[in-house]
């Protein structure tokens, strides 16, 4: 059960290959009405019915928040991932009826900022597509620094350059172009807010440097788009529901709980929002915490787990669910 959100019945109105790895999907409401309003940085959870299996993956909305006649997402194909992106690339065609969640924003702009400094890495560009459109419409002050592997894999780099010209700066890994981060962070006017979305190494690097250079935590916003990591299968006892379930190698604990017919709360499915936080009743083994929600102390205490991204290795695990 997605907390506080209802579902939207949509139809895939267009599927557009963007480059070798990325494809864009357009959704419209089946009843022809407008979709709900959203703000830049919001995501939707897409339900993927793949035979016996249902996957629920979050994707940032990348269209302009001013246009709610359709939602658009861009999906990067991950050949070694858990299969969600491959399903989207192979099986989702125009005309397919799908179900998505209402939009939820865990990466919103702080509109009190005097300036918005955005750092994107790879497919982490998608939330900034919506945020830049929102800010440009309001005459907002922003600057986007976008790192991609090669020019041909610089998803939407051409579109962004055309729309915003010099407000967009591109860095290509294959040309050895690197953001001069310390210089960039030290030359921003007071009242700037920083936004970063990309690989977790990049997010960690940017947050570290920003903190050292005196950026208060309230001015640094980030979004991990890490999918649940696969791992060794493990068994879990759900004490409240009286069920024992097995979590497969390619399945998240949350997905396994849902597959057993138990409906826990969730929102982001990416380890950041805290909705699916679950109490541990007993355990004999080791937790593999992959979330950004629980504190380090909570991770060590072994009293809680975030089933959307975290796993377990060991003899037994009993959850209050």
């Amino acid at each position: 059960m997605s907390t506080g959100t209802t579902k939207l019945d949509v139809v895939v109105s267009d599927v557009v290959p963007v480059n070798d790895l990325v494809t864009r999907f357009h959704f419209r409401r089946r009843d022809g009405e407008l979709l709900p309003t959203f703000s830049g940085g919001a995501h939707v959870v897409v339900e993927m019915r793949d035979g016996e299996r249902t996957r629920l993956n979050p994707y940032s909305l990348m269209g302009s928040p001013l246009n709610t006649s359709e939602y658009t997402i861009s999906v990067r194909r991950d050949d070694v991932g858990r299969g969600g992106s491959l399903f989207m690339h192979r099986s989702v065609k125009p005309g397919l009826e799908m179900v998505i969640s209402y939009p939820v924003n865990l990466f919103s702009l702080d509109l009190r900022a005097k300036k918005h400094l955005m750092l994107a890495g790879g497919i982490g560009i998608t939330p900034f597509m919506a945020q830049t459109a929102q800010l440009a419409a309001e005459g907002g002050n922003f600057e986007l620094h976008y790192t991609c592997r090669t020019a041909s894999l610089g998803t939407y780099a051409d579109v962004l350059r055309e729309r915003y010209d010099r407000r967009v700066r591109l860095y290509h890994d294959d040309r050895d172009e690197r953001i001069e981060l310390d210089r960039l962070l030290s030359s921003q006017p007071l009242g700037t807010h920083l936004y970063v979305c990309g690989p977790s190494g990049m997010i960690g690097w940017v947050r570290d440097r920003a903190a050292s250079l005196g950026w208060p935590a309230e001015t640094v916003h980030f979004e991990h788009f890490a999918a649940p990591q696969p791992g060794a299968p493990f068994d879990v006892e759900l004490a409240v529901s009286g069920k024992t379930i097995r979590v497969d190698e390619q399945q998240s604990l949350l997905e396994a709980i849902e597959a057993a017919g138990v409906d826990p709360p969730y929102l982001c499915r990416g380890g950041v929002c805290g909705q699916c936080e679950t109490n541990v009743i007993s355990h004999d083994g080791k937790f593999i915490h992959n979330d950004h929600w629980l504190s380090e102390e909570e991770h060590r205490s072994c009293n809680k787990i975030m089933p959307c991204v975290s796993r377990f290795e060991g003899r037994s695990l009993v959850l209050e669910r």
Binding site: R112, K114, L190, G214
Partner: protein, 198 residues
């Protein structure tokens, strides 16, 4: 030390050195002691990147102690109003990495914070420490006039003359506590006036 009552009533902490490239301190009289106390735990070269703006008040107490910290810049001002243009200029030209430290009376902390908020600094990222008088800056909700250094309960509005109950209800935007007429039903009813914000 200010006691916690309702949620809008500001609470203050203890100054501590923050990571950053520039450190701007604004203090009045007793606030100097918060800075010298903090200096004992600050890294060796901390004040090389610091500016201290100080309103010493009569007697220029604590000026020597602050100068002894050898900040990159030290500026003495006779009043908050007199340092305001300089503060606005400093913040307008500042970059991210500047950290703000406010120490002294509530009136000073509140008014400096008001300017900082306009410059885009979030109030939660400002270091504050209350020292000295508990005298309040109060806004009369009836005539909107501000009365400085209110020490009594109730207090007389220095603009419209109404007798006001000084509430804990505080506005960061106005940098003032709210004063509401205490005898609106019967103006002849005059509750005793006590000096409580010393």
């Amino acid at each position: 030390m200010a006691a916690k009552s309702i949620i809008s009533r500001p609470v203050y902490g203890t100054l501590s050195p923050q990571p950053g490239k520039h450190h701007l301190f604004i203090a009045d009289t007793e606030g100097a002691l918060a800075i010298t106390d903090m200096a004992r735990t600050a890294p060796a070269s901390f004040f090389d990147g610091a500016e201290i703006v100080f309103i010493p008040g009569p007697g220029r107490k604590h000026v020597a102690a602050l100068e002894a910290l050898r900040p990159a810049q030290f500026h003495e001002a006779p009043s908050f109003a007199s340092l305001l243009p300089r503060l606005r200029q400093t913040l307008a030209n500042a970059h991210m990495g500047l950290r703000l430290y406010l120490a002294g009376t509530e009136g000073l902390i509140g008014q400096a914070m008001q300017v900082a908020l306009e410059a885009g600094i979030d109030h939660t990222s400002i270091q504050t420490e209350h020292r000295g008088s508990l005298a309040r800056r109060m806004q009369c909700v009836h005539c909107k006039g501000i009365t400085e250094n209110v020490t009594t309960q109730p207090a007389i509005c220095s603009h419209c003359g109404l007798l006001l109950l000084v509430r804990d209800h505080y506005s960061r935007r106005l940098a003032a506590f709210q004063g509401v007429c205490i005898n609106a039903e019967d103006r002849s009813e005059i509750p005793p006036m006590e000096e409580i914000f010393r």
